[in-house]
């Protein structure tokens, strides 16, 4: 069961839009951290994923375990929010 979902995005990232659209279709609510508007959180995104890319989706389960999904990766995103 989900506790929260956070997506790190930028304004120009098409894959970010796809992740947001997918979560909306699935009825999953999420918080968005736009790195263009919040550049001070870039290092947080990098630390979470180990990557310098967006989208980064952080799925926190009810038991506080976290799954970090880099990119628009439905093979990982779909089971993570199931």
């Amino acid at each position: 069961m989900l506790k929260s979902v956070t997506i790190f995005t930028t304004n120009t990232c098409a894959y970010c839009r796809m992740v947001k659209k997918y979560l909306s279709i699935k009825g999953v609510l999420y918080d968005e951290v736009n790195l263009d508007e919040n550049p001070h959180r870039r290092s947080e995104a990098q630390q979470l994923s180990g990557a310098l890319t967006v989208p980064i989706t952080v799925v926190t389960k009810i038991d506080d375990t976290k799954e970090v999904i880099v990119g628009y990766n439905l093979a990982r995103l779909a089971p993570a929010i199931a």
Binding site: T12, A14, C16, L29, R42, G50, L52, T53, V70
Partner: protein
């Protein structure tokens, strides 16, 4: 069976996992519903309590016939609706008029035409709707937009227009196409088999790798192929861009909004349009970009999981190193046609799909349009034109 024309109402709250589950099931079953968050709408909460005799339990689901379900399991909800996911899955054996593989400009345009003709159309996309166009910052040469249009906006408009006439878009990947009795095409996908009378292949192309040491090792940690995705991580940093075609130059121009300096590493000479070349020249004179012609990039080097420099060789075989924080690679395109290698559909030497004058491939009733087609000009305007042409040819084929 539920009457899909009448509304189902789901009372729930953001924090309620079972509400998410029930909403997800309804979505998967393609059943529309109205969702009301009782934390944000006290009047609706009161109405829910009135309907349920004061039982403050969510999700509370009101069916069109007035039946009330509270905290139903998925099985209970499916039973009340008279449907189930397994049955929905079996519906996939239904034969579509046309399935379009790839959701870029060519197929979105073709879908506008086919659906307006009442030809049932399913688009399958494995990545981003809008394809490579959606990943492009600004498209300056697409007619009708005198100031240019962002790739995301163009993709959005194309998608909405295709959906307005009834196109459906599914997110999965096709792994093979075969032809069966009655000229029916079977598409194996990552989500099961689908059948169609006609198929449009519009899978486009992807950026090539440059295949040098360090490229894979530092992928997404300093080596990138999507400037609009990853450029923001290089604010006030130094970048190398590898490539000298339109894409490389355009992406380098986009990256100047973030980077303090860009080294453009060009193996031979710049082959970009005059307009782009002029823009590059301006930035070179401002000291923002340095162009290295006749320059091979030999390796990407780094330390502690970070890119630190690129090793280059100039036209006189002199090797040197450039200190950079990141590398963006745009060295050409490769076709997305691996799923066709074992089919009877003919590919050219590079892997692009061969077609006849009707845009039909070697498999009857399977057409190709856009960047994936052998001989394509790799222009969005051309892909859109080919999409329209392919739709008319598909209609003719279906009329048989």
């Amino acid at each position: 069976m539920i009457d899909k024309t009448k509304q189902i109402i789901v009372y729930g709250a953001d924090w309620c996992p079972d509400c998410h589950r029930s909403r997800g099931l309804l979505t998967d079953l393609n059943i529309s519903f109205v969702y009301i968050d009782i934390d944000k709408n006290q009047a609706a909460k009161k109405k829910m309590l009135d309907l349920t005799g004061g039982r403050n339990v969510i999700p509370t689901i009101i069916l069109p016939d007035g039946k009330i379900l509270q905290e139903p399991s998925n099985q209970e909800l499916e039973a009340a609706l008279g449907v189930n996911l397994k049955q929905t899955a079996q519906d996939k054996e239904y034969i579509y008029d046309v399935i379009m593989i790839g959701g870029g400009p060519a197929s979105l345009t073709a879908a506008i035409y086919t659906t307006r003709e009442r030809i049932e159309t399913l688009i399958l996309e494995k990545g981003v709707v809008g394809g490579m166009a959606a990943l492009t910052d600004v498209i300056d040469n697409y007619p009708g937009f005198e100031e240019g249009v962002t790739g995301l906006d163009l993709a959005d408009h194309l998608q909405k227009q295709a959906e307005r006439f009834g196109s459906k878009i599914d997110y999965n990947e096709v792994t093979s196409i075969t032809i069966e009795a009655g000229n029916i095409k079977r598409l194996k996908t990552t989500n099961g088999d689908l059948l169609a009378k006609a198929v449009l292949i519009a899978t486009g192309s992807d950026y090539k790798k440059v295949n040098i040491p360090g490229e894979s090792e530092y992928f997404a940690r300093g080596v990138h192929y999507c400037a609009t995705c990853d450029g923001a991580f290089y604010r006030d940093k130094k970048i190398a861009v590898i490539g000298g075609g339109n894409s490389a130059v355009q992406e380098a121009l986009f990256l100047t909004r973030f980077a303090s300096h860009i080294d453009l590493l060009v193996r031979s000479s710049i082959k970009a349009s005059d307009v782009l070349q002029e823009k590059i020249d301006e930035l070179v004179s401002e000291g923002k970009i340095t162009v290295h012609l006749q320059t091979k990039t030999l390796a990407i080097e780094g330390e502690n999981n970070e890119v630190k420099r690129v090793l280059i060789e100039d036209g006189s075989s002199n090797k040197s190193k450039l200190e950079v924080d990141g590398v963006f690679v745009f060295v050409g395109l490769e076709p997305n046609s691996k799923f066709l290698v074992d089919s009877i559909i003919e590919l050219d030497d590079i892997g692009f799909v061969k077609t006849n004058d009707n845009l039909e491939t070697a498999m009857s009733g399977v057409f190709a349009a856009g960047d994936i087609r052998s001989g394509a000009t790799m222009q969005i305007a051309s892909a859109i034109g080919e999409g329209a042409t392919a739709a008319l040819k598909i209609r003719h084929y279906l009329e048989g």
